[in-house]
């Protein structure tokens, strides 16, 4: 078990800054997900924890010990790479046995440990095969088993599921989740997939341009984003954004766009001026609305359990509403929509959330 602490961590590659001023505490036994668009520094951060990348400045502590000067093999962390990095010339058995062999574990003990790990990962039948003969999901399990057998204090996973198809990805996601609940070890998981982050994480670290944008539980991140970037990154379909202005009226502040006024209830103290209104698709109502705003339906996507309605209200971006599966409108028809009862988010021109706490 290990807690990992990053202090003012910075990494530059030939003049470009990949990670800057990163402070992060990863708790013992926690499942932490680093998430962000590609190039945000999440993989670099993970590689610095593993010791594969030397930080330009800042410190890394693993289990309270300074780890900056430790070789990757001395840090007692296990890593699963995006391309899995199995040894193609070694059979599955020898791939899994590689770690214990490096630690000079006696041969018969290695055999029994490999067999045991293979059993828990359901790959006992593959031990004699080579990685190229394994399917994507099987190779995934082998990579996990190879790390698992060395009993590392922390698992580092770098987009391990990105090469799998959607169905297998969901299966393996559940498997990794189960593995974490069983082992109760520290997991640090890198992904660009917000859904993966939401479903797996105890805590999510949202990164952009080498900086941490927000740290929080999945629900905190979803319901209380600190800025427009985090707000639109999480949730599928993404949060609707509407450009407009905050004005003060007799009955309280309103958000005006396109000649319409939206009363701002429960948004907190917000200053007047240009702003962006954010509303999640499930909070945008189109069913049974009278006296709402008007928009043209450009696309109707029935997904079975719900139906997505794309609305053109005259701006350059479409709005998306989630309607019940029984709801139906023709494309091209005009409908009314409102945000009544739904939660509204306001952001300033720089994308910072307004009226938050």
């Amino acid at each position: 078990m290990a807690e990992i602490r990053l202090l003012n961590l910075r990494k530059e590659f030939k003049g470009t800054v990949a990670v800057q001023a990163m402070d992060l505490e990863i708790k013992e036994g926690e499942f932490l997900v680093l998430v962000g668009p590609s190039g945000c520094g999440k993989t670099t951060t993970l590689r610095m924890i593993a010791g594969l990348e030397d930080p330009t400045s800042g410190e890394i502590y693993i289990d309270g010990r300074p780890a900056n000067d430790l070789e990757p093999g001395q840090r007692n962390v296990g890593m699963v790479f995006q391309n899995l990095a199995l040894f193609p010339h070694k059979a599955v058995f020898d791939n899994i046995a590689f770690g214990p062999r490096m630690k000079k574990v006696p041969a018969d003990e290695i055999r029994s440990r490999v067999e045991q790990v293979a059993k828990t990962m359901h790959i006992a039948h593959l031990l004699g095969k080579f990685p190229a003969q394994c399917s994507g999901g099987e190779a995934q399990r082998v990579a996990l088993a190879r790390t698992l057998i060395t009993d590392p204090a922390a698992f580092l996973l770098d987009e391990p599921l990105s090469n799998l198809d959607a169905k297998l990805r969901k299966e393996m996601r559940a498997e990794i989740d189960g593995l974490h609940s069983r082992l109760r070890k520290t997991f640090v998981y890198v992904t660009h997939d917000q859904e993966e982050a939401m479903t797996l994480a105890d805590r999510i670290v949202v990164m952009r341009d080498g900086r941490i944008e927000q740290v929080g539980t999945p629900l905190e991140i979803y319901h209380d984003p600190v800025n427009l970037f985090v707000a639109t990154f999480f949730g599928s379909p993404a949060m609707n954004v509407i450009g407009g202005e905050v004005r003060r009226k007799a009955g309280g502040p309103v958000f005006t766009f396109d000649g319409w006024h939206v009363p701002l209830e429960g948004v907190g103290e917000v200053p007047d001026g240009p702003a962006t209104l954010g509303v999640r698709p499930e909070a945008l109502r189109v069913e049974g609305v009278t006296g709402g705003y008007r928009a043209r339906v450009t696309l109707v996507e029935p997904l079975g359990k719900e139906t997505l309605i794309y609305l053109d209200y005259g701006a350059d971006r479409l709005l998306i509403a989630v309607a019940s599966p029984s709801f139906w409108v023709e494309e091209g028809a005009s409908v009314e929509f409102d945000f009544r009862g739904g939660r509204l988010y306001l952001f300033d021109r720089e994308g910072r959330r307004l009226g938050r706490g």
Binding site: A50, G51, E71, P72, G78, M79, N83, A85, M102
Partner: protein, 291 residues
């Protein structure tokens, strides 16, 4: 024309072209082998005889064992058995090729993983190799005379290692580049030292490429003539140098004898090539085949 007929026609065309090319390539070898079994009067006869008549082993007996000299049509050539040169060739080509490949592999690893030389620098070094050997031959002879390296194993091996190293680095680098660095890193994370990683993970994955590089450089050093001629005298002599010695004072070039020796020069390479052909197919395809 149906699609099938078209495809067939294309195949016929392709195989005809390849067949013609194969004949062009193989003909000198055929002629060499046939000449080596011909009696002296058939060496130059016109119109040429394709198949030796009578078939004789005399050329081999003369060249390799020094027999029959007085009974032969040719009498005035100075003869020395080529076994001495064969041993020399094996020692010099074998040592210099091994050194070149080992040094090349280590250098290539440094270039590929640590960028110790830029691609541009490496390319410049390779271009240097395009200089015709004769340009540097005379200066090297003068240096070597001064340094006492003329006519020594060390001297010739050094020249061969230096001149083939750029090839060795380029070729092995392309194979190392193909090994994803994550494979090495995962070995390190599992506790393997740098050397252990190279030995257990990198080397097995580039083995085919290394074998192909070895063969390529062996062919270069084994058949090198100019430097061997300039830098050898009585102590060392390689087979290509011997090959040029079969010239009688009155008879001109002794083709039968020369070809009997040339088969001895060619055969070892063919045997080695056959022994490692599995690696060559993978190695010479430069990773175009999936591992």
């Amino acid at each position: 024309m149906t699609k099938r007929a078209k495809r067939r026609l294309r195949a016929i065309g392709r195989y005809t072209a390849l067949g013609v090319w194969a004949v062009v390539v193989a003909f000198p070898l055929f002629w060499s082998v046939m000449t080596s079994f011909k009696p002296p009067y058939e060496w130059f006869t016109w119109p040429p005889t394709w198949i030796p008549n009578p078939f004789t082993l005399n050329n081999y007996r003369v060249v390799w064992f020094g027999e029959l000299l007085d009974t032969q049509y040719v009498q005035s050539a100075s003869i020395q058995t080529p076994f001495f040169a064969l041993v020399n060739s094996i020692a010099i080509a074998g040592t210099s090729t091994s050194l070149s490949v080992v040094l090349g592999l280590l250098l290539a690893y440094g270039v590929s993983r640590y960028g110790i030389l830029s691609e541009a620098t490496l390319f410049r070094l390779l271009i240097l190799r395009m200089v015709p050997p004769i340009v540097v031959a005379v200066p090297v002879v003068i240096y070597y005379a001064t340094l006492g390296l003329s006519d020594t194993y060390v001297g010739l091996i050094t020249v061969y290692v230096v001149s083939t190293l750029p090839y060795a680095v380029w070729m092995t680098k392309s194979f190392i580049d193909e090994v994803p660095v994550e494979i090495e890193q995962s070995a390190q994370l599992l506790g393997a030292s740098r050397l252990r990683t190279i030995w257990e993970v990198v080397f097995p994955l580039v083995r085919s490429g290394v074998v192909a590089t070895f063969m390529f450089i062996l062919i270069l050093t084994w058949s090198e003539y100019l430097m061997a001629l300039f830098l050898s005298a009585t102590n060392i002599s390689t087979l290509p140098v011997q090959l040029n010695k079969y010239e009688g004072s009155t008879e001109g070039r002794l083709y039968g004898w020369q070809q009997a020796l040339s088969l001895g020069v060619t055969l070892p390479l063919i045997v080695i090539g056959y022994a490692i052909h599995k690696h060559l197919v993978r190695g010479f395809s430069f990773g175009m085949l999936k591992r």
